[in-house]
């Protein structure tokens, strides 16, 4: 499906720009030819359907070509990013059974695993034509999850094609820029999705060139950033007065884009904001477009066409609107198992549904809101409390830059909610607790702890365990009083 899409792009959009990076511009025909050449060389070196191949290619365009070429060889590929420490790359390679590492840098070698340098050139793109085994696993996407142990998501070309469809519906031929390296899982998948839509992939090089400038230079129409990058973007617009191109839509992944940040973003950067709820196992589930970000900024908007989502209780009974429960979803683009991880698979995939581990609710109009991770739900004396409701409320305080709720365990009461706050300026903790209490009642945090920054795990998600460990009862060094 993905290679068929590339072959179609070569045939139908051959002269259109597929890739732009500093110093490089490829049309779809040239990209197809480059992929054909590298695929031939890799196959000539013995890479085939029996192999699992690790990929350590830091160059953005080179990485895209190698990823597509490896799909053409029929092998399974897994990224061994150059930015990861050697032991982590080795662990991934070992767990996934890599027999070869394809790398542009010899220092990426891993012990006894063969190293192969990819070759780049041009061959007729006809070689991209079928047969394409669309239901054979071609890519193991790595997900850090919340446990710290990586999970591997076995994606076929069909999954990628279906996910591309929900990721960008209705389809549009954009000029797409994402400042994050293609070596990151989500970034790589989005670059591959773009092939399906005949989008132009604009890459930023590692020299930290101003991507604002690149957005203007290449008339970028779709910019994908993380919530952290969105914050910086808003600060930058405020500080330097720079602007995005007028018709540039900004897409932010993840549900951790609190309402105050969305409002600030709309006000200072652009109203063309799209906040997407997506997972590596599934692709996009729902997106809050400009109207939802304006009117219901705590939501992730409407579920995508072709995706089915239900809110269920612990017995899988479907709940009515406005009742918080477990989210489950299904679509043709979802995977149905993790690679070589039975316990994780049994927890996340049941009866054709994917359970992302998130809690949420629909409103009366079908707008979905995420309350937090099911694992993160607190239970204080039988009162269910979700981190997101605390975080959304505390974030509304003008002196709070960002915050994260977490629980301390009590033998008798269950989970005592606390909130860690990165403050803009000195705040009186008691006043902030009162602010939260007036809005949340019994679901309010019982203590405020001030931190310089919020701890994150390898997947850039809030590390609530780290907060819990740091602020164990009786030892709150910087808790309670006004920020010093």
């Amino acid at each position: 499906m993905l290679l068929a899409a590339l072959a179609r792009r070569v045939a139908e959009n051959g002269d259109e720009t597929a890739v732009i990076s500093p110093g490089t511009r490829l049309t779809y025909r040239e990209l197809g030819e480059a992929v054909s050449y590298t695929a031939e060389r890799l196959a000539g070196a013995g890479i085939g359907p029996h192999d699992t191949v690790g990929v350590t290619v830091a160059g953005e365009v080179d990485h895209l070509i190698v990823a597509l070429a490896l799909i053409r060889t029929g092998c399974v590929q897994v990224a061994l990013p150059s930015h990861e420490p050697q032991h982590h790359r080795r662990t991934i390679a070992t767990r996934t059974g890599c027999s070869v590492v394809v790398a542009t840098d010899a220092t990426a070698a891993l012990d006894t695993i063969s190293l192969l340098a990819p070759e780049f050139g041009r061959s007729p793109a006809d070689a991209l034509a079928g047969p394409h085994p669309t239901d054979r696993v071609c890519l193991l996407a790595t997900s850090s999850g919340t446990t710290g142990r990586a999970k591997f998501i076995p994606l076929t070309q069909r999954h990628l094609g279906e996910q591309a469809r929900t990721w960008q519906w209705p389809p549009s031929r954009d000029v797409f820029l994402r400042p994050t390296s293609i070596e990151f899982n989500n970034s790589r998948r989005q670059r591959l999705y773009n092939i399906v839509h005949a989008t132009t992939n604009v890459f930023v090089d590692r020299s930290d060139r101003d991507w604002f400038e690149m957005c203007h230079e290449h008339r970028v129409t779709r910019l994908a950033v993380s919530s952290m990058q969105a914050r910086r973007l808003a600060d930058r617009v405020n500080g330097d007065g720079v602007r995005l191109p007028e018709n540039c839509h900004v897409r932010i992944g993840g549900s951790d884009m609190p309402a105050p940040l969305r409002r600030a973003f709309i006000e200072t950067v652009t109203p063309l904001l799209h906040v997407t709820y997506a997972t590596s196992e599934f692709g996009s589930i729902a997106t809050a477009g400009p109207a939802h970000n304006r009117d219901k900024p705590e939501s992730v908007g409407l579920v995508h066409d072709g995706v089915q989502v239900e809110i269920v209780d612990d017995d899988d009974k479907v709940l009515t609107p406005n009742v918080i429960g477990r989210i489950r979803a299904r679509s043709p683009g979802m995977v149905h198992t993790y690679f070589d991880d039975v316990p994780a698979s049994e927890g996340a995939f049941r009866n054709g549904w994917f359970y992302p581990g998130d809690m949420g609710a629909f409103d009366d109009h079908g707008v979905l809101s995420i309350s937090g991770r099911a694992d993160d739900m607190m239970n204080l004396a039988s009162i269910n409390i979700f981190p997101a409701e605390i975080e959304n409320t505390v974030s509304e305080h003008p002196d709070v830059m960002e915050c994260a709720a977490f629980a301390l365990k009590s033998r008798d009461l269950g989970d005592i909610p606390l909130v860690a706050v990165v403050a803009r300026r000195d705040i009186d903790a008691r006043a902030l607790l009162t602010f939260a209490r007036e809005r949340l009642g019994v679901r309010a945090p019982r203590r405020v702890v001030f931190v310089e920054s919020l701890p994150c795990n390898a997947g850039a998600k809030i590390d609530r365990e780290a907060l819990r460990a740091r602020f164990a009862p009786g030892g709150h060094a910087r808790e309670g009083g006004a920020k010093s």
Binding site: S410, D412, T434, R437, A472
Partner: protein, 85 residues
Amino acid sequence: MSTRATAIVQNALDSCSIATPGRHSPGETGLIPFSMSFEEIGFDSLAFMEFCISVHLDTGIEMTTEQLIAFGSPEAVAAYIEERL
């Protein structure tokens, strides 16, 4: 009574005032004699819970509502905390 045990109990009473706004402001809870019984102060189940939480967060000592009722007053709780610290 140690200053620390007194401060912990005072903080717990203040926490109850945040939990039940309008009943006592934090300033007012400083006027409540520790010898008053919880019943006289007007403790309900929510206030007991908040008191337990506050003591737990400040000291790591876990208490139940039943224990607080048995102690009867903030003064008795402060004496217990002083022993445990």
